[in-house]
Symmetry: none
Subunit: 221 residues, 4 copies
DNA sequence: TCCTAATCGAGACGGTACGTCGCGTCTTCGC
DNA sequence: GCGAAGACGCGACGTACCGTCTCGATTAGGA
């Protein structure tokens, strides 16, 4: 055993720096975030920050992955509904006052920073999208989700429209648009034969036995 | 009449700066772009750049909107197919060696820069998405696209998955995934009764009377 | 005759620029004077200023030499007294609110600008010190001033202490100090036998040893 | 104990910057001196220079006061002679190749920069003129210098002509002029009864008309 | 009466220096 | 050895003026 000589690192420092980072991210955004400011606000020397996080990106990703809890699998019995709930949850977080904008900012910054992108993927996205993958797999297994689509493609179809909307316009779907979009995505990924509309009932009835018919508009005849 | 006093601005300068900006964007990305470097590479004084574009964002958006041609309406007769072609075209551009990555970078940077975002929206996105809107409207009119979806929602559904994929993973769908995703989106937005697969015929027959049947896989029991 | 074709230069412009220069000199000092500001304040294009005065120095010296009237020879009959009056007058002007500080500033600036120094000498100082030289010569001729001192040395002795004081300390002699200094300089340059103190009488009656001669121009013999 | 936290400032940097400043002052004069150039020539970052000397003036005055040694009191026994020696020394330095012109330039620049002037006074002039003041006081005490003149006035009389000459004309007295001027100043400030001419002999043997008296204090009749 | 040419304002242009900010590294002290 | 404090070389920022250069519009002569 080496035995770790000298003064051990202070956990309080870690905490202070992370808090400072979150505060500042919320306040000035990713591009306005400065190691200098972080250190100052944490009451810490700049080299102390660098000692733990060699780059701003490391710091931010680390802080984010610690601050944002992993999504929980709703597991209502209906995998399609689970997906919708997860998507809804994702959207909620993206828009939420706290870390939401920060996550977006970092995603944005990652675009032309492959370093950041991969670290983000590894430390933040994968753990979080894992649940989605599981739910999708379950959906395929239980015959609720089409089996001719790659898992990642389904993910893109579920999250893409929603993220795209927020990223580009900053605005978000209203209640009606959201319902329509949800139904549309369901059409895109639901296995053939699955009823077109999700049951609006809050605690989704178990499935397997498909609801007989529930079209929105009248049939074309 | 006003008569435009003083020495007129040199078009050559505009050109040189725009070229330099594109070059550097491709080389070092948005976050690595420096007005200083732009001016140097354009053989121009720094103040000259600032005189025309007060901020880096102004410059970049202006350059992009000038450099990227607006999408043309394919108008094959089948609006659904038109949408697919447009999406395909958008994807192509996003990935393309030239401005593609640049556009992505700027989109990313815009996330936590509302200023940039709105300028981008106004000068870059709207003109380009306009075509998409028209095609969608035509689709609705001709009964190829559902009429219970807002135009912007459809846009999100068409572009979202694709952009999300590129933005987040940097990777892109392979041929098969692309086909599957395309079909899925079609399911999401096609009007009821419209055949599931797009007719591969290049110059789509006019619509109204929906093509009777054209499934890819067998019907769902 | 060439005949000077084209539009003649406007005298109004000359005037406006000179006024602007004086104003600004008084306001911001020599080192704070900018051609830009001069032009703006004169309501004139910058090139118009450059057309007439190639450098800031040219402009300033020209303006000064036009603005500050040449000292008049008091010619009281007593050359020593004349010198004192002249010195007094010089001091007055140096301290005066208007051009005084400006002259000092330019003198100061001239120190490490030989160009400016020589132009200043030629256009400003010489004409003004000429009178002093004449008075000194007259003093020597009339036996009031020592003849073993070079004219320029006398000039240095008369003006030096006074200018030095103002230049370095900004402060100026009070009444008593001034009288004492005047008397001291008189001791330094007065011909032997001339009474030590200047008569305090306002309209200098000759003193003790009256000046032998009083003519201004007639031959000495 | 304060304990002086953080990395101490490098003496090498001080030294390098001061050298660079002196070099450049000698080369391009005060008005041509650039912080940028100083930093470059010292091999130092610009902010490092600003950290120590907030303004160009601070830098220059500091450098000068460090570079020019304070005059030593000759103390030959004859205060009048001491004054002449000091004046001579001052002149020498003003004209000397090294800092001489620099001092002049700064003096000049100080004219319309009260900030600079007061700093110059405080950090440069007073320490240096202190000796002069002491010698003058001694002269008064020993009866060699008139007691009806303020110390500062005497200083003006001693240094004024000399500085005036150098400042304005750049030229300097030749041997004869210098002797004459010296004698003149002596007349101006010597106590009554003191022999008129200073002994030009290097080690002050009395000359021509040897001063009858050489006592230090007694009254002249 | 036109023509021609210099001058006027305005302001763009390539530059240089400004003084500031943040970077990431280093060096010192005191726990 | 860690941690704060902060100096260091560096590079970019956005601004102010520089002195030169086009411009269109005056404004006189001379033809």
């Amino acid at each position: 055993m080496t035995g770790r000589r000298g003064r051990p690192r202070s956990a309080a420092v870690d905490w202070a720096v992370e808090q400072a980072t979150l505060d500042l991210l919320a306040r000035v955004g990713y591009h306005g975030l400065t190691i200098e400011a972080v250190a100052a606000r944490a009451g810490v020397g700049r080299p102390t920050v660098y000692r733990r996080w060699p780059t701003k990106d490391d710091l931010v990703v680390d802080v984010l992955s610690r601050a944002v809890p992993v999504l929980a699998d709703p597991d209502t019995g209906d995998a399609l509904r689970d997906l919708e709930l997860l998507a809804s949850e994702v959207l909620e977080r993206l828009v939420a006052a706290g870390v939401g904008p920060v996550v977006l900012a970092v995603l944005g910054a990652a675009v032309d920073r492959p370093e950041l992108a991969s670290r983000l993927e590894e430390r933040y996205l994968s753990p979080r999208l894992g649940v989605l993958g599981e739910v999708i797999a379950r959906g395929v297994r239980t015959g609720r989700v089409r089996d001719d689509l790659d898992v990642t493609v389904i993910r893109d179809l579920v999250l893409g429209p929603l993220v795209y909307r927020v990223l580009l316009s900053g605005r978000v779907w209203d209640r009606a648009e959201r319902a329509a979009a949800t139904a549309a995505v369901r059409r895109a990924i639901a296995a053939p034969g699955v009823a077109e509309d999700a049951p609006p009932s809050p605690a989704g009835k178990p499935v397997t036995a498909p609801p007989r018919r529930r079209r929105r508009a009248s049939s074309p005849s």
